[in-house]
Symmetry: D2
């Protein structure tokens, strides 16, 4: 009953098999393995982007920080939602990689920037000539940090704002597959067809051991990203193990199947939470992550039985009135089974 994060789950067997298989014999290092060309091709096919550059790293923070550092100048503001992972959970990695760009926080309900708020934030930045930070890229997270999904139209509305100022756009796709599954759209539709210039295409949270692809639809900055990756110490010598993971991930739609599975479980859990007395969802979840407000008593029962998930604020105490609600987050990964979901729901219901 571990619903703490999709990074607590195991790797999918297809991914693990690929890693094992890749171990046979010798392979040239640093991305020159024989698997990588196929990965690049498959990702280009997947995104319907025959010119795209593809770069593998092992962590989502690396993917985001390297992509943003490539798109932003040190003196730029980088626009993102107020609760973006890059703002809250990366210990300043974007600031480190960009050499001090400023994260400009944009408001919006349900974890989603509104075009109006983005426009206001951009307008308010860069109106002071040399004295203020300049206008830099916009980064959008889908699935958002509170489990909702931007629709294609919503993404397009944001990239339209960005483009009206000549700004680049990035999609933080730590849960890219879950968003695609939720929107029932293609990777191309969620990215360049919606005005996105670069994407962090996440695998780690969705059944891989640790691999993410940075994809730039215009390869003009590909070499810069390669240099930043090396300089950031993110170029793997035994790169074959990154290639192998990503290769299996984008073969035969595995990436999507895994995400669909996780989304289904989360939908079951969300439906069930609505039936827990005193409980409510914070927002209607679209992918595999749920934020809810649930009475303390229910939390106590679930946790006593071994359920693991996060309460907020982090130091939220289980001592207190039973019927007072505590904010919490559940994440289902690809390996989560329906029985476990029902068991958790049973405990919450009491």
């Amino acid at each position: 009953m571990i619903f703490a994060s999709d990074n607590t789950g195991p790797a999918a067997p297809e991914i693990m098999d690929a890693v094992l298989h890749a171990n046979a014999g010798y392979q040239m290092p640093y991305g020159n393995d024989t698997i990588m060309p196929g990965v690049t091709q498959k990702i280009r096919d997947l995104f319907e982007a025959p010119e795209a550059s593809v770069h593998l790293v092992a962590t989502g923070t690396a993917a985001n920080a390297l992509a943003l550092a490539t798109l932003a100048n040190p003196w730029d503001g980088v626009f993102m939602h107020r609760i973006a992972h890059a703002e809250e959970d990366e210990c300043g990695a974007p600031e480190f990689y960009t050499n001090g760009a400023k994260l400009v926080l944009v408001d919006g309900a349900d974890g989603k920037m509104t075009p109006e708020a983005l426009d206001r934030a951009i307008l308010a930045t860069g109106d002071k000539g040399v004295h203020g930070v300049q206008r830099g890229p916009v980064t959008i997270t889908n699935i958002t940090e509170i489990g909702t999904a931007y629709s294609l139209d919503q993404i397009r509305a944001l990239t339209d704002v960005a483009n009206s100022y000549g700004l680049k756009t990035h999609l933080d796709g730590a849960r890219f597959a879950n968003a695609c599954a939720a929107l029932d759209c293609t990777p191309a539709e969620m990215t360049w067809k919606a005005g996105i210039d670069g994407v962090s295409f996440g695998g780690t949270k969705n059944g891989c051991l640790g691999v993410e692809a940075v994809v730039f639809f215009d390869p003009a900055q590909a070499w810069e990203l390669e240099l930043r990756r090396k300089r950031g110490a993110h170029l793997f010598s035994k790169h074959r193990f990154l290639s192998a993971q990503m290769n299996a991930y984008v073969t035969d739609g595995l990436w999507l199947r895994l995400a669909e599975r996780a989304n289904v479980r989360a939908a079951e859990l969300a439906e069930g939470i609505k039936t827990v007395p005193g409980a409510s969802l914070e927002a209607e979840p679209a992918g595999n992550m749920i934020f809810a407000h649930i009475p303390r008593g229910a939390h106590k029962r679930a946790m006593a039985a071994g359920a693991k998930y996060y309460l907020f604020p982090f130091n939220a105490s289980l001592d207190g009135p039973e019927d007072e609600t505590i904010r919490c987050r559940f994440v289902c990964d690809w390996s989560c089974d329906g029985e476990t979901v029902q068991r958790l729901l049973g405990l919450l219901r009491g």
Copy 2:
């Protein structure tokens, strides 16, 4: 009729004389001139801080950025008011000098952080272990960016919050002298006696050509600041000209007299604005800077006659309804005379 900024005015004659005088003959470079020891001593006396370290630079941004970089780790949040100069007007200099620390913005009316808002901001920072930025120093600006002044009690309330978390505190004193004059307090009272660890003691806006002193009451980090100053290219070879300015500035209370003069003029102007039909002050000014909302018609008259000051937003148009108010800022410097103030008021009144 130039009220654009206190950095548009001339240097005071005492300061200019000192620069001229310092030009005689040879002087060892890089702070080893014969004037600097006296400067250090006088500033220590002024602040009643016999151990303080004193470091001269030529710009306020340098003073702030170097002081904050010395007090903060790269992975820290630096707490400041939402509209702090370091956030809005330094093109990311603090981020550059700190190697990417995050400026954490704190709310509060009248340009002043409240202790409650500061406490909330600190609490919300550093509650994520290694994942979030850590808690770093607090920087307070007095005179604030909208012309008000923190009282000594208000400064103490903020430093009490900071100290309760073990955090260091910095005072951005670009208008330090105007604040001292406004509060009728001593430099020691406004700084270390109120819990401040380091101060940017500004001279440029108050009658100097370009000189600011970074003062650390605990000299433990003095050598680090010296290295950061050199590495930031802010150590002057002909340092004598910085020493000479600061020496004159802190001799015989010149720093305070100049500020008092500017404050008096601003008070006259503020009183007068209250009598301009349709006009209002944004906040009761304490020092030499006034934010007001004044009808467009009054602005048109004043500007047609050559008055210079800033309208906000920066692209505010003089075309439009005459009685609609436009936000504006007036700053009086030490050299501003009462006649000019009355002339401006006459124009505004129509």
Copy 3:
């Protein structure tokens, strides 16, 4: 017949098994997996250092850059051999992570700094007060970049110099195990007993998929390194896969057995090269890496038959006089077998 690098070889079966095994079920992320405490303990035992802090990352460059950034100030010089990996092959990663420290290059034959040259370099650094970079840590690579090994006495002689200036010392142990095997010493003897403060204990080149441990014998800077690791995007969410690799690596002496195997093969190869007509070793190899000068004709035979290894300079041409020697490098990894070595030697001999 791939002798290009020890990072071209496969992972050892014990390591791969551990990865597979670690995949079962759920594990908390970011180093909170159940395997990591055992890793820490085993490494402390291995190094006879019960207080040591242990931090896992996936690349050798990350281990070195993070360790050096923790030990050095941005304004420091970092002392290393003129051909150190950190100088030549990391695209400026140490400069990036340290925020611009200067790599000060120290001379010495056979890839080894001499104490005299180190002393000269330290003396020449930091003799200009605030104007020059200051004296920072010393980093020593064992096995060196040209395949030789510092003896314990040679390491001690260098750390004695460093300590005489109060400087910290770091050991770049990308081939730590090969060095231990070559010197027939314990990890403690090669590190803290020889005056080393921190070590990058490499696993990637010696049979792992990608894992390195940064070990600080004094844990005072452990938290800083944790923050730098996160901020550098090197903290793995599915950290269990790093833990599992390192756990297997330091269990039952696997790390040493793998290195011994590689060293034996390299020794056979080195002996054989001495019998290749016209060929000579550049230095007597101690571990698993050999630099040699071999006639072009021999290279042509070997490469025509599929042997892979590097020629220097990188663009060295196979067109030219048959008996002219070309500098080359052979590296044996743990999986290299004696038959392959003899086959290569047969080709070289012609």
Copy 4:
């Protein structure tokens, strides 16, 4: 008898008068003063470069560091002489401003890089693909750090090498005027006509209080430099005082007259040193700086009489054999008079 440095001397009266004069009345800040347009025009005229961008700062280190940061990527090597000021005397300012570029040191006698050594250094950099730092700009210092001057042909030979690799070139002109005087050439001839892309046109050492102009002949990167200057805290609010200095400096050839005066004195001193028993020049001086080897006894006499200049190494002792030579440096500034030179020579001769 102060020959320690040209930054120990006073400002020229014309410069000081201009500062005084600029103090009258109000001036818009941050480079928007009424003096600056004339400065830009005069510098464009002086350099016969009607498109050039002109940016004023107050220190030579700022000029160099900002120019190099604009010309170099963080992952580049910056090529310079082994004893360049940027390498030895700026506490890592270039590394700080470039975010960690590597200074690649080039050999050459008399403080001058040879084209062959530069070519070797460039070739050896950037031959490792993504693993090594890339090839960045070349910076040339004239007058060199040991007082010699590159001829126009020598500069052209270096820029030819740079250009053959597509690299940009920068001239560190802390003593630009002394070099022009020495070579009897125009500013255009020493810069863009000789293949230079950007120059730090120094005023501080040659009679100003503190002002340097960064000049880019192609203004494509002008805005980037403006942002870097602001972000580096080098944009003066009371910029008029920088403008005024530079304006006087480039009016009516003052810059050249001051340098000629200093050069003449240095030439007299150099000639005289040749007549000091046991003394020798280290290189034939071209401008206003002399390195010599002079017996300890002569130093003792001069210093006892109050002469100030630097001995090398910095801790060189005056205790020891009288006839042993000690390396020393003399610098003549514009205000040095012939009588003082003769007095020094008299003391040295004994």
